[in-house]
């Protein structure tokens, strides 16, 4: 499935929720169920600092695709992280670079990604895109 297809899948899942409590309960569930990042990556090197909640992000590159694992100390943040990884992990660098992620807006979670929201998510997306650009550059260098 393309990024767009996964995004529409997420959007239709969220359309089923009647009110905000259902939606946030779901995010909390997602937060609990995300495969936790390997403990060895939970160190300052992989930490994306938010003012309040923190996000750890690790990337690896295999067979032309990037795998991300991530974790956060806040459950709601972690739930949103898991949605982002569902869309963005196991993708080629180009797919990631070209993604606009507007599903976040459509499922009503946009303000969690506002730069004023001190949860580390804005920086996490920046970091994901930076990884994609870095792996792409490395790839081209190896091929060239």
């Amino acid at each position: 499935m393309s990024i767009k297809e996964v995004e529409s899948q997420v959007i239709s899942e969220f359309e089923m929720f009647d009110d905000w409590t259902d939606k946030y309960n779901y995010l909390i569930e997602l937060g609990k169920s995300i495969p936790a990042i390997d403990e060895k990556y939970k160190q300052p090197k992989y930490l994306i600092k938010g003012c309040q909640s923190q996000v750890w992000l690790h990337a690896s590159y295999q067979n032309g695709k990037i795998q991300f694992t991530a974790d956060s100390d806040a459950l709601i943040t972690k739930g949103i992280v898991s949605l982002l990884l569902r869309v963005l992990s196991d993708r080629t660098p180009d797919e990631i670079i070209n993604s606009d992620l507007n599903f976040i807006d459509k499922i009503g979670l946009k303000d969690h990604l506002s730069p004023t929201r001190a949860n580390g998510l804005t920086n996490m997306i920046k970091q994901i895109k930076l990884y994609a650009m870095a792996f792409k550059a490395k790839n081209q260098k190896n091929q060239g």
Partner: protein
């Protein structure tokens, strides 16, 4: 006068709105308070009809604005019972007031090996300016310890005052915990050794009557926006003897007497410390904030806020796995807390959904959070316009948080 909460609330347009389809409960008053209509109207009137630069223009409007501005200085003087209006310096806020003293006082009086005393519960704005000053003057910043309730340990403080101490700078009321410090004892003990004291009054002025003559503090700093006034204006009270001795903080227009390229002589107090065009509109707005507070009276404010404090304390204790940070015997209606198992950010998000605005994080007091070994707290801070119904909505919000994060 009778305390009529609905009448008070009706003066604050911002309180009358819905957030997430629920009545808006504003519990972030320690960050900034909402503004009453008279303050807002004062700003509009000034810019509509009175705007001009002051102290210079020889025309009607300028004379009128100058008079209004200087009258506010007198209003502030009598509001905090300073000896004279020259001791009232208008600044951008508490932060600038502290920076002014830290910088100018240190240049004159702090030297290599000297000590500056602050407490462990200070806001960053009463830490960092002193760190900068101490670094520049090769002096030492010493920190008065606090106990687990969030109170200054006075015996330790007395021991720390010595012949090297040049100044003591402590907060009147803690922004993170609401602790009301025994500033009178702190000042008296320092004065016994001829050491001056600066008090950060940002969190005290909205709640407590402050009498600088009675306190006998040497400097007192506060902000307009935390006491129902506009943002961008604050006050530094300083005893004349000190303000005359310390050098100017910023150079520019207004603060000079005579300027040549060779040298400048400085204007007298208070203008020596008010370089550049003053923030006239906000100063006039601040005057109306004082009018608002006076119209209720500090006695009534304290009595009512104490009721809110006790009402919240009774309810918050019944919530499962909640821990209050800051349980001083004397405190304002500030509740810093944590759930054992829930991140402050998560709590804040759900409370926001429930229409309740609180602050989460370290509240610009990182060393204090380190002391309690926590990353941050959720802080609900109340003001005179808050109600028991709002506290109920807040408590319902906490119960909802509890339910959602089983």
């Amino acid at each position: 006068m009778d305390f009529d909460i609905q009448k008070i609330r009706s003066q604050f347009p911002a309180l009358d709105q819905q957030i997430n389809k629920k009545p808006f409960v504003y519990f972030d008053n320690a960050a900034t308070t909402q503004k009453p209509k008279i303050v807002i109207k004062r700003l509009i009137d000034y810019y509509n009809n009175e705007n001009c630069n002051i102290h210079r223009g020889d025309y009607f409007l300028s004379r009128q604005a100058t008079e209004a501005y200087e009258n506010t200085r007198k209003t502030v003087q009598s509001f905090i019972n300073a000896h004279q209006s020259d001791e009232i310096i208008f600044t951008r806020g508490t932060t600038e007031s502290v920076n002014l003293v830290a910088s100018s006082f240190s240049k004159k009086f702090v030297n290599k090996g000297d000590e500056v005393l602050i407490s462990a519960m200070e806001h960053h704005s009463n830490i960092v300016p002193w760190q900068l000053a101490c670094k520049e003057r090769d002096a030492q910043l010493k920190v008065i310890p606090i106990n687990k309730n969030g109170e200054i340990i006075m015996e330790e403080y007395y021991k720390m005052l010595n012949e090297k101490t040049r100044i003591v700078a402590v907060t009147h009321v803690s922004n993170s915990m609401g602790t009301i410090n025994p500033v009178k004892q702190i000042i008296d003990a320092a004065h016994n050794k001829n050491i001056p004291v600066l008090i950060d009054g940002a969190q005290a002025m909205p709640h407590l009557e402050v009498n600088v003559s009675e306190l006998d503090c040497d400097f007192y700093c506060f902000s307009g926006h935390k006491m129902y006034g506009p943002m961008g204006v604050g006050v530094l009270y300083g005893k004349e003897e000190w303000l005359n001795q310390i050098p100017p903080y910023q150079g520019g227009g207004e603060m000079i007497n005579e300027v040549t390229f060779a040298k400048t002589t400085f204007n007298k107090l208070p203008f020596k410390f008010e370089a550049g065009t003053p923030n006239v509109a906000d100063v006039l707005g601040l005057e109306k904030a004082l009018t608002f507070i006076s119209s209720i009276g500090y006695k009534n404010i304290q009595k009512y806020e104490k009721e809110l404090l006790q009402y919240t304390n009774r309810q918050i204790k019944n919530i499962d796995k909640i821990k209050l940070i800051g349980t001083a015997g004397k405190k304002t209606a500030v509740f810093s807390f944590l759930f054992d198992d829930i991140h402050p950010y998560d709590t804040g998000v759900i409370l926001d959904k429930m229409g309740v605005a609180v602050r989460t994080g370290h509240h610009c007091t990182q060393p204090l959070m380190d002391f309690f070994e926590i990353p941050g707290t959720v802080r609900a801070s109340l003001a005179v316009y808050n109600t028991k119904e709002e506290i109920d909505q807040f408590i319902d919000g906490l119960k909802m948080v509890r339910k959602m994060f089983v």
